[in-house]
Symmetry: C2
Subunit: 337 residues, 2 copies
C-alpha cells in the first residue's frame, strides 16, 4: 500500500447513496446522459441480450469526466485558485483537465510517457500542464505530491476518493433506469476495472436502484488483480506493470475504497486478452457505430468471448472509453469482427 493510498483511505470513508445523488445533481446539464445501445446481431453473437452503456460518448471520451467534475466542484475558496494535480494514463487526465478548464482552475497532469499520443495531446489541448514520467523507473504519486506541496494544488486521485467514486457512480444511476426501460431487471453488469472507482460506484447505485443487477469486473489477462483479490478476499497486486494495449486498465491493485465496496458487492472477476479486446472494438464499430479503446472494449469482449462464464439472458456492458490512436483502431478493424 502506497503512502498516498494509506492517507486517502485514512481520511475517507466510501461514499454512500446520498453522495451519489448529490453527484448526479452536480452533473445534471454538465455530463452527458449516454445511451444504452442494443443491436440484434450483437445479441445473436453473444448468445444473450447485450445492453451497451456507451460512455465513450461522454465528454472527454470516457466516464472519467464525471468523477473529476464532482471532485472539483467540492473544492472551496483558496483551493480553487491553487488548482489541481492528477496522475493518469490518459482518461482521468482528460477528465480532470477539462473539468478544471470549465471550472477555471489550473491543472497539472502527470502522465506516463508511453501513454497514447491521442490522450497526451488532448490533455494538453484542454489547457493542462502535462508532466511526463517513466512508468518503470519513476513514482507518479511522488511527482504529483511534489506539485501538491510546492504549488498548494489539490491532488485528484483517479479512484481513491469518495467524490470520485460517487461521480463515476452516476453511470450506475443511469444504467438502473435505462436497463429497467429496456426490460432487463436481472443481469450481470460488466465493468472495466483498473482501480475500481467506476465499478464500485456503479455497484452502490445498483444496490439501491436495481438490486437484480450485479457488477463483475473485467481486466486484461495478466493484470487480473481484481479477480484474484475478490477470490482471495484480500488485495492482490499484479507483477507486470506494462505490456497490454488495454492501457486504461493498468492499475497494480484494487483501490482500498473500491475494494471495501466491491469485495461484498461484486461477482467473480473476468479477464480478456488484447486480441479479444481488439475484436470487440471491431464489433462495436460494425454494429454500434461507436469508437472504443482497448480498455474500454474489455467488457464487450467478455460478453462476446466469455459466454459460458456469464449468467442470465441479458448482460449490461459498460463501454467506458474511446480514446484510441487511429493506427491502433485500424489494427482493430483489420482484426475483423
Amino acid at each position: 500500500m502506497s503512502p498516498a493510498s494509506k492517507a486517502a483511505a485514512g481520511e475517507a470513508a466510501p461514499p454512500n447513496f446520498g453522495d451519489l445523488l448529490a453527484a448526479a445533481g452536480r452533473l445534471t446539464g454538465v455530463a452527458r446522459r449516454t445511451p444504452l445501445l442494443e443491436d440484434p446481431f450483437l445479441n445473436e453473437q453473444a448468445g444473450r441480450r447485450v445492453l451497451v452503456k456507451a460512455e465513450c460518448l461522454q465528454k472527454t471520451g470516457s466516464f472519467k469526466f464525471r468523477g473529476a467534475w464532482n471532485r472539483l466542484s467540492a473544492l472551496q475558496g483558496e483551493a480553487r485558485i491553487r488548482g489541481v494535480v492528477a496522475f493518469s494514463s490518459g482518461n482521468h487526465a482528460q477528465g480532470v483537465a477539462y473539468a478544471a478548464h470549465l471550472q477555471e482552475m489550473p491543472a497539472v497532469i502527470v502522465m506516463p510517457k508511453d501513454a497514447p499520443a491521442a490522450k497526451i495531446g488532448a490533455t494538453r489541448r484542454y489547457g493542462a500542464e502535462v508532466v511526463l514520467y517513466d512508468r518503470l523507473t519513476e513514482d507518479r504519486a511522488a511527482i504529483a505530491r511534489r506539485f501538491a506541496e510546492e504549488r498548494g494544488m489539490t491532488l485528484v486521485p483517479p479512484f481513491e476518493d469518495p467524490f470520485i467514486i460517487a461521480g463515476q457512480g452516476t453511470v450506475g444511476l443511469e444504467i438502473a433506469e435505462q436497463a429497467h426501460e429496456a426490460g432487463a431487471t436481472q443481469a450481470e453488469v460488466l465493468v472495466n476495472a483498473s482501480g475500481g472507482g467506476l465499478a464500485s460506484g456503479i455497484a452502490l447505485a445498483l444496490a439501491e436502484r436495481a438490486p437484480g443487477l450485479t457488477v463483475r469486473t473485467v481486466e486484461p489477462a495478466g493484470f487480473d488483480d481484481w479477480a484474484r483479490s475478490l477470490e482471495a478476499g484480500a488485495i492482490r497486486t499484479n507483477h507486470a506493470v506494462g505490456g497490454s494495449i488495454q492501457d486504461a486498465l493498468m492499475s497494480p491493485s484494487p483501490g482500498l475504497l473500491p475494494f471495501a465496496i466491491g469485495r461484498r458487492a461484486f461477482g467473480p472477476g473476468l479477464a480478456v486478452g488484447d486480441e479479444e479486446a481488439l475484436r470487440a472494438m471491431a464489433v462495436a464499430f460494425a454494429r454500434l457505430k461507436i469508437v472504443l479503446e482497448p480498455g474500454g472494449a474489455a467488457s464487450l469482449a467478455a460478453a462476446l468471448f466469455r459466454r459460458e462464464a456469464l449468467q442470465g439472458e441479458a448482460v449490461v456492458v459498460v463501454a467506458s472509453g474511446g480514446n484510441v490512436d487511429p493506427a491502433l483502431f485500424a489494427r482493430a478493424l483489420a482484426s475483423g469482427a
Copy 2:
C-alpha cells in the same frame, strides 16, 4: 421524372405537422432518441459551435429506420401479409429490412451490386431477400415494380412518400428540443441530401418547433442536384450516376414531395468533396467517438470546410449514417483529422 415518381406524387401530398407527431408517437420506444453531441476542439476547428445529431447511433446505423417503421406501421390487413419491396443503395434497405423483420412482414430489397458489402450483408442478415442490379444498365424502380406486381408487395419508396418524410422528420422534432436545451435557437441545420426525405421532414418539424433553425442541404461535389434545383427554383438532375464514395447521396434528383417542401424552406445548398468527407470521418472518430460513413459525414465536412459559406454562431450537423466498410474507414483514419 420516373413513372414511379409521377405515381407517388400524384397520389400523395406532403405530410403536415400532425403527420410528424403521429410518426413520433409510433416511434416512441421503438426508435432511439439519438444524442446531440458537442466537443470543444471541434467547435474550435469549425470556428463556431457544432452540435452533432448522431443518427449513426439509430437502429440499423442510420435515420432510415424511422421512416421505414412509420411507413410499415400504416399498412393494414392483406398488405401486411404480402410484405414490402424497396430499392436502396443500403441505408433505406436496412431500415426497411429491420422494420419488416420486427413487424413480421416479408421484404424484398433491390440493391446496386456495387453497394458497400457491409450494407448488403446487413440487409440479408435482417432477413430480407436481396436482389442485386447493375446501377449503369438496369432500372431499379422497374425491378421493384415487378415484385410489387408479381407478389402483391407494397413498394416502400426511399423518400417520395408522406409517411417516410414524416418518419424522418422526427429527427427534426428531437433537434428542436435538444438544440433549445443546448441554448442554440438560431442556427443553420446541415442535412445530407439524396432524395431529400430527411431534410424536408426536418424542415417541417423546425418550422413549427424551432423557427430560428434553417435547413441547408449538403451533397457530394458533382452530385449537387439539390443545390442547383434550389437555385433554379425547379428540379435539376445530376449527369453522373456513380463515382463518389458518398454512396448514400447518389439520387439523381430531388424528390417531388421533398422539393415541394424544400424549395420554400431550405437555405442555399452546399457540396463537399470525397476527401473532405473522409477527413470529417476522422474528426468524428477522434473527437466524438462515433463512426460515420462518407455520406453521413458530408454535413460535418461542410461545417469544417465551408466555414465562410455558413452563418451564425452555431451550426447543427445531422450525422445521418455510419454503415461503412472497415477498409474505407481505415482510409479515412489515414487521411488524418
